[in-house]
């Protein structure tokens, strides 16, 4: 398997080889041409094969290759795999030797963020942006940390800095758009998602959120078009992205376009059967007065995501229709409890 990956990464390996022999990649310290496994690992990581890259780094260590930034690269591999736990230990040692190494600061901050060590992440990322104010990625994660601290203004400003550093930072644009949507600023959300899609036309998340914004603005057909675009893009990228199925299904159900709703929800159930899609399915069945099936679908939604408030309200309505008023009241209470944590209302 590693061989296959190496074959796939061959062009990059050749490039790195040439670069090393030519002395082009001298920073932070000139690498001798013998660090083959280390260079292979870098190329594999660049090609998206983080696990294989880690194995090459192990081989590099066993071969006693001279590779001074091994800890950083190992950390980056773990980060790429979403395995954040080992990252801080790897980077803290590295940063003791290289305290201002911007990239290491960024990855340490990112790891701390993912490990929900938000105070530590904030401090580390502040260091990172102090060391390099043009580190857009660090600003972006700093914004996410601020959001976790419920400092929405700070989050917004951090993401604005990321956009200032790189006006084509689609992720930062997306985050700003999402922040606007979740704060009930729908026109603004629409504009930022539109900007995101101008940079990355295939961003199915941006299409989904733009659809939500359009729906909130009363532009229902535009919303449906965007949900469909999101579905199309996520399918093309082979990502099981459930949310647009749920949103389209719910909107079509509200509009009493039940056949279309059924079609999109069934597609969602097939491709991305999450709690939102099951909620939409339950609502569709309730609209059709198929109460028992509606209850089953909504209860399944609750099982899939017990923290999601969405299915509890229609479930309460369905149980009312079934005459189970006490159970309905319980669901209503649960709905209200879960809703407490929802986004703040704006006037």
């Amino acid at each position: 398997m590693t061989r296959t990956m190496v074959r796939k990464a061959a062009p990059l390996l050749i490039l790195f080889g040439v670069a090393c022999w030519g002395g082009w990649l001298a920073a932070p310290q000139a690498l001798p041409p013998v660090a083959f496994h280390f260079q292979t690992a870098r190329a594999l990581l660049a090609a998206g094969h983080a696990r294989a890259a880690l194995r090459e780094l192990d081989l590099a260590a066993r071969a006693h290759e001279v590779a001074p930034a091994t800890a950083l690269w190992r950390a980056k591999c773990y980060a790429a795999l979403g395995e954040w736990a080992p990252v801080p230990a790897l980077l803290q040692g590295y940063l003791e030797r290289h305290p201002d190494q911007e990239e290491a600061l960024y990855w340490l901050g990112a790891a701390q963020f993912h490990l929900r060590q938000f105070d530590a992440a904030q401090a580390t990322l502040q260091q990172a942006v102090s060391a390099n104010p043009r580190d857009g990625a660090a600003w972006r994660v700093l914004g996410l940390v601020a959001l976790e601290h419920d400092q929405r203004r700070a989050a917004y400003e951090d993401w604005q800095r990321a956009v200032a550093v790189n006006p084509r930072d689609a992720e930062a644009c997306y985050l700003i758009g999402r922040l606007f949507y979740e704060s009930n600023y729908f026109s603004e959300s629409d504009q930022w998602m539109s900007r995101t899609m101008a940079i990355t036309p295939h961003d199915y998340r941006a299409a989904y959120y733009r659809g939500l914004a359009q729906e909130a603005l009363g532009k229902l057909e535009a919303a449906l078009t965007l949900y469909q675009a999101s579905i199309r893009e996520s399918r093309a990228q082979q990502v099981a992205y459930a949310w647009p199925y749920g949103a389209a299904g719910r909107l079509l159900t509200k509009l009493s376009r039940l056949a279309e709703a059924q079609q999109v929800i069934e597609a969602g159930l097939q491709r991305a059967p999450d709690a939102r899609v099951y909620t939409a399915y339950g609502e569709l069945l309730a609209q059709q007065h198929d109460w028992s099936k509606a209850e089953a679908a909504l209860r399944h939604a609750v099982t899939l995501d017990p923290a999601l408030p969405d299915p509890h309200y229609p479930l309460s309505r369905v149980l009312t229709a079934l005459g189970a008023r006490d159970a309905a009241a319980l669901e209503m209470t649960r709905f209200r409890q879960l809703q407490q944590a929802q986004r703040p209302r704006q006037r």
Binding site: R152, N184, Y185, E188, G218, L220, K254, D310, H312
Partner: protein
């Protein structure tokens, strides 16, 4: 210090810098078929001699009541057969204390299309109470409608002396609602004892003496607070003892609910059991649906009814409430108006004490998203037999463009025509510029001030002139629809007949309505009940189920008239006068 969410403060600067210049979408052309009877609401305020200007008592402190008032009402205070107009005004605040407090205004209908301000001689005088709303009802069954004014920390009951004057009887009656911020109120006979009781809803626990600073700290960005900053207040139910006094029976009736942040109320029989129920629109809290148990108590049926929240389960910023049968099935559907970026909700009555959110399927979800809606009423603008919808709009925040550049403080009102079976089309664009001119709309009261069978309306605009709109049509006479209006006089029931249910039959066609309490935003409606008949030229049968339980049936009634029906007797000879000269 309590403040608006940090996020909003934080986003303000960026919004202004980045998101200016968002244009309003151009008005879409409206097919003439959407207004086939060519109804035009013409602003006749000046010609009618109405010069009321609402004083909003604006201050740099942004005291919450400033932006919330006020209501408006119709009543025939002198029983001359013409509806008179009543405008509610604000009052003193710590930041607004002119030598003379703002005064409400009673305009007598002269019967010739003009009105005369008779406030001074009526005895209605404000001592500076900051008034919000008005409810009209004949609580002592003497034939003259009395006036209840809701206000901040104190409300007032004026007894109509029957000679053109009123007397403040609040203290004796014990209905001052003291300490609470009274908003929407309504009269109804909840226990069927033949006397009108009073339901007063209250808004948040805002302390005008200890203002809360909300909004961004930068100059020009301070804003009126969000209701989340304050606790709610329970409604109060005052039982009419029949001797000029009332007893607070809120607890006994099971109506204590401190979550109330109420701005709208409609009192109607929502489950057709003969007992008047309570539906209240709350700001950022669930709506309240209290079903009348028929034994002096009520049951909170909100959670299982489906009318407490949007269909997504959101508690929205409810501003007003109305109820009407929109589909001809004899059941009262509910409507709640909301602020911008929320939809005004229509709840279809399923007939089993549950409601289905019909906002999208009715066609009401597609427009008005950017508007903040206050007064709203269903009435048949063209007498085609389907009740249409009028909504007044106007934002809460007078500096809202600084936060949302695409939203304005003053907003045009919205008119929807019922295309049949509860499907609506926005026909605002068919109205003239005066109708569509942006205003900070609040109270809305519908009434037929010229007794021509076409319902007119009056609005109270926050900090602006009140307006009277006359319902006109340019359609030829033969194209116009027929109508019938009923003035109820209860004998065993309360004299206003509030709580009566009416069923009108013409051939195979039926239409239903009720004599309801409350409605719209802090306003009082023409108490007569209007039925549009379309092209039907006869009313075969009119059934009235009085609150007393008496069922009265009248047959073969000629259309295009206002009839007075006395409980147990039938149509009385009283004929409503026509205007002495046409309305300008």
């Amino acid at each position: 210090m309590m403040r608006l969410s940090r996020f909003r403060r934080g986003l303000t600067a960026a919004l202004v810098l980045l998101l200016t210049g968002v244009a309003q979408p151009p008005a879409l052309p409206v097919p003439a078929t959407l207004n086939p009877y060519q109804v035009q609401f013409v602003d006749v305020t000046a010609a009618a001699g109405i010069h009321f200007h609402h004083e909003r008592a604006a201050s740099p402190e942004k005291l919450y009541p400033e932006t919330m008032g006020a209501g408006v009402g119709w009543l025939d205070y002198n029983q001359d057969g013409f509806m008179d107009a009543f405008f509610v005004n604000s009052g003193f605040t710590p930041a607004f204390h002119p030598a003379t407090p703002p005064q409400p205004a009673l305009y007598r209908n002269n019967g010739d299309g003009t009105f005369t301000d008779v406030t001074a001689q009526s005895g209605i005088h404000s001592d500076g109470t900051f008034f919000m709303g008005v409810a009209v009802g004949d609580f002592d069954n003497d034939g003259y409608p009395d006036i209840y004014l809701t206000g901040y920390r104190h409300s007032v009951l004026y007894h109509n002396n029957g000679n053109g004057t009123f007397t403040d009887v609040t203290a004796k009656a014990g209905v001052g609602d003291d300490g609470a911020w009274g908003t929407a109120a309504g009269w109804f006979d909840y226990d069927h004892d033949g006397k009108l009781d009073l339901l007063v809803t209250n808004y948040v626990q805002f302390d005008v003496d200890h203002n809360v600073v909300c909004g961004d700290r930068r100059p020009g960005f301070q804003a009126y607070c969000h209701p989340d900053n304050f606790h709610g207040t329970s409604m109060r139910l005052y039982h009419n003892n029949g001797d000029g006094t009332f007893t607070d029976v809120t607890r006994k009736a099971g109506l204590v609910n401190p979550d109330g942040k109420s701005l709208g109320v409609v009192l109607a029989d929502l489950n057709n059991d003969g007992w008047t129920d309570i539906f209240i629109a709350n700001d950022t809290e669930r709506n309240f649906l209290y079903l009348n148990n028929g034994n002096g108590t009520f049951t909170d049926a909100t959670y299982t009814s489906g009318a407490g929240y949007s269909e997504d389960g959101k508690a929205e910023a409810g501003m007003s409430a109305d109820a009407a049968d929109l589909t001809g099935n004899g059941r009262m559907d509910l409507y709640v108006s909301h602020l911008d970026f929320e939809l005004n909700r229509l709840y279809h009555n399923n007939g089993d004490t549950t409601f289905t959110d019909a906002t999208f399927t009715s066609g009401l979800a597609q427009t008005n998203t950017l508007h903040s809606s206050f007064g709203a009423r269903f009435f048949d603008i063209d007498n085609d037999g389907w009740r249409d919808l009028l909504v007044t709009n106007g934002h809460i925040l007078d500096n809202i463009p600084k936060y949302h550049p695409e939203v304005t403080y003053a907003e045009p009102r919205t008119l929807y025509r019922n295309l049949g079976e509860g499907k609506f089309a926005d026909i605002t664009a068919t109205q003239d510029a005066a109708f569509r001119a942006p205003r900070v709309g609040r109270g809305l009261a519908v009434g037929d001030y010229d007794n021509d069978g076409r319902l007119d309306f009056v609005v109270n605009n926050n900090g602006e002139a009140g307006q009277l709109f006359h319902n006109t049509t340019t359609a030829p006479l033969q194209k116009q629809n027929h109508w019938l209006a009923i003035h109820l006089i209860g004998t065993r029931s309360n004299r206003d007949g509030i709580g009566a249910r009416l069923k009108l039959t013409s051939g195979a066609w039926n239409s239903y309505d009720q004599a309801k309490g409350g409605m719209s935003y802090c306003s009082a409606q023409d108490p007569r009940i209007y039925f549009g008949l379309g092209k039907r030229t006869t009313v075969d049968r009119l059934e009235i189920l009085w609150p007393s339980g008496e069922k009265q049936v009248l047959e073969h009634i000629a259309p295009d008239q206002i009839i007075t029906v006395e409980e147990g007797k039938g149509i009385t000879p009283y004929r409503y006068p026509a205007l002495r000269r046409p309305v300008p």
